[in-house]
Amino acid sequence: MTTETTTPTTTTVLDASGVTMRFGGLTAVRDVDLTVNSGEIVGLIGPNGAGKTTFFNCLTGLYIPTEGKVSYKGTVLPPKPHLVTKAGIARTFQNIRLFSNMTVLENVLVGRHTRTKEGLWSALLRLPGFHKAEDASRERAMELLEFIGLQDKADHLARNLPYGDQRKLEIARALASDPGLLLLDEPTAGMNPQETRVTEELIFAIRDQGIAVLVIEHDMRFIFNLCDRVACLVQGEKLVEGTASEVQADERVIAAYLGTPFEGAPGAEEVAEVEAAEAHAGTTAPAQAAPAKTTDTTPAGTTTPADDTTPETPSTDEEGTR
């Protein structure tokens, strides 16, 4: 697997500018700009409730942004989910949303919907193209199942798959619509380190097929290994965007994750509180900064920081299991 892909000509796949989403008086996303170029993996991080998923929903047409516009490869996207998918943006969901009572293969076939045209008449009369199109869809779906390694479970019900496989199936289903951009909403949530590692490789493989990826994730090690660029969203606003090392080094990101007020001078009370917390959880405080130290020296790629010897990181425990 390649870790570094250099794209000769970078074209902008996704261009979101000034996206704002208000629910009544609550502004969930405020004036966010984000671009994704072809062949790029972009990460979107931020504490819980920062508006990451809302932003995703704005991109995919589930929400109509109050302000701003989203364009895909130069054309402004219509605010209808199915049209967005048709245009070439596919997504997965934070909590798995498979068609649980359909088989694995059928799930992927549903993903082919926009790329096939056989209508009701064709199905009823079994017009000449019908079988050809069905066979082609099936073939493509099986290819995708092989790609994620679920070809042997094609006839299982989706609900009976183990958790990790369900996540993978969701990705395959999204890929079935032949997207140019894949949006992954926490693809490794609830996964153990091995599974996370497999997912990481899967995403690289997807990128190598020429599909740009935008990924929301909480697992910092995962995201900094994976992404060419990372944007951090805090309280609906984009705080910082840049390479993995830039974002890790950013004081405000660390502050946001630790819950310290990130602007304005903290009152004496807060300072005392934070100090107390830091003293209390002495191991967790540097944990956020720790990956920064380690990945500073390694290029942003798949290189596992297996030689990471920083004793105080809690993630070293995980590493033992790798």
Binding site: T60, L62, K80, P81, H82, T85, K86, A90, R91, F93, R97, L98, F99, S100, N101, M102, E106, L109, V110, G111, R112, H113, T114, T116, E118, G119, L120, S122, A123, L124, R126, F130, A133, E134, S137, D155, H156, L157, R159, N160, R173, A174, A176, S177
Partner: protein, 616 residues
């Protein structure tokens, strides 16, 4: 969630040595068989002539058949060569169920005789022999090692449910049922021997022949007692065959030869009117077919696309009214007579338009809201038709009087109104319409199957499963829901055009939400749910049952909806996936793990092996 170990055990309910229990079962069954050749009562005041020695009649025949089945299953338990095919799943539950069926039929008969004629004194000794022998068989069968739930895996005990179900099932049945704890061991059904294709097709044909015979027998039952006995025997017999794994084997064959199966079913259905010389019974057949066709149309909307439509019967009404208006009825406010094909197109087109007009605004709603709005529109249709009577509105439908005296059809010189002699069989008016309706049913079956197994059908199921995810996969949910709604409406409209002619008259009261005569929206929905949502054969079976039972049991007409409610409660409690379960539904409601994967956990396989040894 996962396959839990030891949810079933294989133990006798009454601790008897297995050999003794089996011998007693065989003896009891043989005695029951013999008893049907005795007289059960003195007079022929009880219908069916049960007074003759050496010649079983009426309800005795049902007991005889059940008892013979019991004898067969019990003997097969000895491992007799040549009977192994009877019980591919192994175990003794099938034996128990046929024994129970024999017992229920026999005791029902003798009790019915006593009640009808006033006291046990009306029973001949033969009757008492039958009662004793069938009771002995059941008790002995309880001594066989049966597959049961373990005490821990019983459904959770709760007083309200217990009291409710106890009252509903007649005080002792449910407590006994809980005590017996029968369960189904997820047994691996023994592979059938590889048969040549023609043999498999022959088996399918045979199965449909038997099904046709059983169905015809039910329609031909002449008095209520016989029909009840028939229902009891068939219900237990079918359960036994399911437990024995025979149904699963047949299903395996039918899924392998699907087109053959469809053809066989069609041929069997085609043969039905030739077995009927009775006009009234042929009419029941025709009405069942109409009901079943509409139910299958509703299954597109409810079963595939998951849109709960409570006003579906309105589309049947639109089709029927459209056909009636252009039928040339002297009382039709529109004084035209279309040829039948044009009337059919008119009816279908009218329903289609009505479907789109209602669907376009309502399908933006989801779930409960959609159900309520469709319920409303169904009633609006009926009220509107009522109001278009020339007094409160323009005269278009004659209001509550409806459109009577719809003339009979005449296609290619074939007059549907009179009897025809074909190859020695007389086909009456209803039989003619039955055959016409069969063509429509075949069309609807084909539409259901082909649309269900296509890109469109998958999109419908996806919307049913998760609409948000479906739209995120590029499915235009609104358009596809409208398509399902319109297609369902069109299919109902098609059926309506025939229904108008079969019933001579169309009135608004035929098309209400709930009424005593199917088809109405509530019964249609019940047929779909009872039969099995999303399946092809489910609504057909459900509709047949729901029509046949009220038609045959006229005496309980007053309690019909009440009994119907009870039946639904029991069904949802014990078989929530419906009578015909598709594989998905079965997995959804019963957490028995994946059925189509070989059993993975060793302990279960061991129990199965152990019990197969004990059982077979």
């Amino acid at each position: 969630m996962t396959m839990t170990i030891n949810t079933t055990e294989t133990t006798p309910v009454i601790p008897l040595p297995t050999t003794a229990a089996r011998a007693a079962t065989v003896t009891g069954a043989a005695l029951t068989v013999a008893s049907t050749f005795l007289a059960w009562t003195y007079t022929d005041a009880f219908p069916g002539d049960l007074t003759v020695y050496g010649y079983p009649g009426g309800l005795q025949v049902l007991t005889l058949i059940s008892a013979l089945l019991t004898l067969l299953f019990a003997t097969a338990g000895y491992g007799v060569r040549g009977l192994g095919w009877l019980n591919p799943a192994g175990g003794n539950n099938s034996t128990f169920f046929v024994a129970l069926g024999t017992f229920a039929t026999t005791w029902f008969t003798t009790i019915a005789i006593s009640v009808k004629l006033g006291g046990l004194a009306n029973l001949e000794p033969g009757g008492f022999v039958a009662m004793a022998a069938s009771l002995l068989t059941v008790i002995a069968a309880l001594g066989l090692p049966l597959d049961r739930h373990t005490k821990e895996s019983q459904p959770q005990f709760s007083w309200p449910a217990f009291i409710g179900l106890t009252l509903i099932t007649g005080l002792i049945t449910y407590p006994l049922w809980r005590y017996i704890r029968l369960g189904s061991n997820p047994r691996e059904i023994r592979r059938a021997k590889e048969l040549p294709n023609w043999a498999e097709i022959l088996i399918i044909a045979g199965a449909f022949g038997v099904a046709l015979y059983v169905f015809t027998y039910g329609i031909d039952t002449e008095y209520a007692e016989l029909f009840i006995g028939y229902i009891i025997s068939v219900a237990f017999g079918f359960t036994a065959l399911t437990r024995a794994g025979l149904i699963a084997r047949i299903t395996r064959l039918t899924t392998k030869h699907r087109n053959v199966t469809l053809a066989a079913a069609l041929v069997a259905a085609f043969c039905f009117p030739f077995t009927q010389q009775n006009e009234q019974y042929a009419l029941i057949g025709a009405n069942i077919l109409i009901f079943a066709t509409v139910a299958l149309g509703l299954n597109v909307v409810v079963g595939l696309a998951g849109l709960l439509d409570l006003g579906y019967v309105a589309f049947l009404g639109v089709g029927a009214y459209a056909a009636a208006l252009v039928s040339g009825s002297p009382l039709s406010p529109v004084g035209v007579q279309f040829p039948f094909w044009a009337a059919v197109l008119t009816g279908a087109a009218a329903s289609l338009v009505f479907g789109v007009v209602i669907g376009a605004p309502t399908l933006r709603l989801r779930g409960d809201y959609l159900a309520i709005v469709t319920l409303g529109f169904g009633e609006i249709f009926r009220l509107t038709v009522n109001a278009l009577n020339g007094v409160s509105g323009p005269d278009l439908t004659n209001g509550s009087q409806g459109i009577p005296s719809i003339p009979d059809l005449n296609l290619f010189g074939f007059d549907f109104g009179v009897s025809h002699d074909i190859a020695g069989f007389t086909l009456g008016r209803s039989a003619n319409y039955y055959l016409l309706m069969l063509v429509f049913t075949a069309v609807v079956v084909l539409v259901f199957r082909r649309s269900g197994e296509s890109r469109i059908g998958r999109a419908w199921v996806a919307i049913r499963e998760d609409e948000t995810a479906a739209t995120a996969m590029g499915i235009n949910a609104f358009r596809l829901k409208l398509l399902a709604f319109a297609l369902g409406a069109t299919l109902a409209g098609l059926a309506g055009t025939v229904q108008a002619h079969v019933s001579y008259t169309v009135t608004p009261e035929q098309y209400q939400f709930a009424g005593s005569v199917p088809p109405n929206s509530a019964f249609l929905l019940a047929a779909v749910i009872l039969g099995g949502m999303g399946t092809l054969s489910g609504p057909l079976v459900g509709a047949a049952l729901l029509y046949l039972i009220p038609a045959k049991l006229q005496f309980m007409q007053d309690y019909q909806l009440f009994l119907f409610g009870i039946a639904l409660i029991l069904l949802m409690r014990f078989r929530p996936e419906g009578l015909v379960a598709d594989r998905r539904k079965q997995l959804e409601f019963h957490e028995t793990g994946q059925l189509d994967v070989p059993a993975e956990d060793a302990p279960l396989t061991q129990t199965t092996a152990g019990t197969t040894k004990a059982g077979a």
